[in-house]
């Protein structure tokens, strides 16, 4: 039991050593336009404010605006300034309900996503973006070196490594006692 206690104490000390960067999931605390707001004019910027800083990085955060009849409206790339994420927004079109969808990377490394809706009361002059949403090319552009492999290839590789390791571990000669 004493040895066990020692192992535990060592581990607990290790906890204290590691416990410096501590983060929680981000939560949306404010937005412009506000959620369920009624907006007279097409806003030129979408602004989302979270309770904690958002992880910066190309393609890590995305904002998309969807209008009536599932039309996509083009937004600029998501810019992060501490805990505020902004994206420029081109002129919107017909009146009706618009949805701002967002996925940001919380400081703790977990993606956080959600939606904010607002209603436009005066029609703008904009036209919807073509089908390929802005957000897709944004994320494709950033990590596009050598194309990237589908997930199953990685998993297959992992299984091969695991198999090789297991063979070694199970076949290795044990201690002669």
């Amino acid at each position: 039991m004493r040895r066990l206690a020692v192992a535990f104490v060592v581990a607990c000390l290790a906890v204290v050593g590691l416990a410096t960067p501590a983060f929680a999931h981000n939560q949306l605390i404010a937005s412009n336009p506000e959620n369920e707001a009624t907006v007279a004019q097409s806003p030129s910027v979408v602004e989302l404010t979270f309770d904690q800083p958002v992880q910066k990085g190309e393609g890590l955060n995305s904002i998309a605006v969807t209008g009536p009849d599932d039309t996509t409206w083009s937004t600029g790339p998501a810019e992060v300034a501490s805990n505020v994420v902004t994206a420029t927004l081109d002129d919107l079109g017909p009146t009706g309900e618009y949805t701002i969808g967002y996925r940001i990377l919380s400081a703790d490394g977990h993606p956080v996503s959600g939606e904010v809706t607002f209603t436009l009361t005066t029609a703008g002059n904009g036209t919807p973006a073509p089908e390929e949403a802005e957000t897709t090319d944004q994320s494709a552009g950033s990590s596009d070196d050598g194309g990237g492999l589908p997930i199953w290839v990685w998993i297959l590789g992992a299984v091969v490594v695991l198999g090789a390791g297991l063979t070694v571990a199970l076949r290795m000669g044990g201690k002669q006692s």
Partner: protein, 337 residues
């Protein structure tokens, strides 16, 4: 000599029980916390959405089993080397195997996490590198994989050299490898940052030693009455401490997380997060009852080298532990509100 023979007959389907229960818990938790797809954004592949929690569950089970198998020599003690050696030789080999599973699952999880933050594209090695560079959770996962590999190496060395590789060292490395992941979970909010962090780490350590110890004992010792009579009372004391630690830290962390934004009862019953916390409380109650049953009703007979129904009760306990691990996996990824 019959006992030494039966010592080698192990019960690995019990590990399967733990694993399946963890899987069930994970999937049930995912169902409870399911989120609607967000308008206008590319969703991560189903392989990522379901694969990542499942792999995280595998990581946890492999970690727990590794810790338990490393603990086993300490629980068995060093006073009956001739009788213990055949069992312990098996435990070292399987500790190495589970550490390898742990390491490989951690690497797969790293790839899946990379895919999760940039949905809709394949994952290149450079993207994984960038993810590790940019995101703390990536570094933590890499750290886990590295430590699990060290654990694997120590395990192989122990297979070769026997107890010249001290079990305490192997246990400490395995426990240490549990620590990086909770640091990057949502362990905290700002009010109680340091306390919740330490408390969460203790929660993980306690749960791993408890579950792993029980798994190692029933898998390797259930039929070996001599060794069981020494190991189980020791484990029972360890389990009591772990139960206390897990309960106190779990309730503390749950309260801090749940009361961060809204009133407790509001969050507890109306959100997936709250429901999962309640499920884990239920698991804890069941585990306390099952553990008490083993401690008070079976243990006296086991100490007297008599035959008991330990195996069935311990299997039930492992299943509940697996469920709790599964819930924990989802809980660590779910938004609170």
């Amino acid at each position: 000599m019959k006992q030494a023979r039966t010592a080698a007959s192990t019960r690995f389907h019990l590990v399967a029980v733990l694993m399946v229960a963890a899987l069930v818990g994970t999937l049930a938790g995912l169902a409870v916390t399911a989120a609607e797809p967000v308008a206008g954004l590319v969703e991560p592949d189903a392989a990522v959405r379901y694969g990542l929690p499942v792999v995280r569950g595998l990581i946890d089970v492999a970690a727990v089993v590794t810790v338990g198998l490393c603990l086993l020599p300490i629980l068995v003690g060093y006073d009956r080397p001739a009788r213990a050696e055949p069992v312990l030789a098996g435990s070292r080999r399987f500790a190495a195997v589970s550490a390898l599973v742990w390491a490989v699952c951690a690497l797969v999880a790293l790839v899946l996490q990379t895919a999760e933050v940039r949905p809709g594209v394949g994952v290149s090695a450079a993207a994984v590198g960038a993810y590790v560079g940019e995101v703390a959770a990536g570094k933590a996962m890499l750290f886990v994989a590295g430590l699990a590999l060290v654990s694997f190496g120590l395990g192989l060395a122990a297979v070769r050299l026997g107890d010249r590789v001290p079990a305490e060292l192997r246990t400490a490395v395995a426990l240490f490898a549990l620590l990086p992941l909770p640091v990057t979970g949502h362990a905290t909010n700002f009010r109680w940052q340091d306390f919740t962090m330490v408390s969460l780490e203790l929660h993980v350590l306690g749960a791993a030693a408890w579950t792993g110890g029980l798994a190692a004992i029933v898998v390797l010792l259930a039929t070996n009455r001599t060794l069981l009579a020494t190991a189980l009372p020791r484990f029972s004391r360890l389990a009591t401490v772990c139960l206390g630690v897990v309960a106190v830290t779990g309730v503390f962390n749950g309260l801090v997380e749940l009361t961060a934004t809204r009133s407790l009862f509001d969050v507890l019953f109306s959100t997936g997060y709250g429901v999962l916390v309640l499920c884990k409380l239920g698991c804890l109650g069941a585990l306390a009852a099952l553990g008490a049953n083993i401690r008070w009703r079976l243990l006296p007979a086991i100490v007297g080298h008599r035959r008991t129904a330990l195996l069935s009760w311990a299997t039930a306990e492992l299943a509940v532990m697996g469920l709790a691990i599964g819930f924990a996996v989802v809980l660590s990824r779910a938004p609170v509100a």
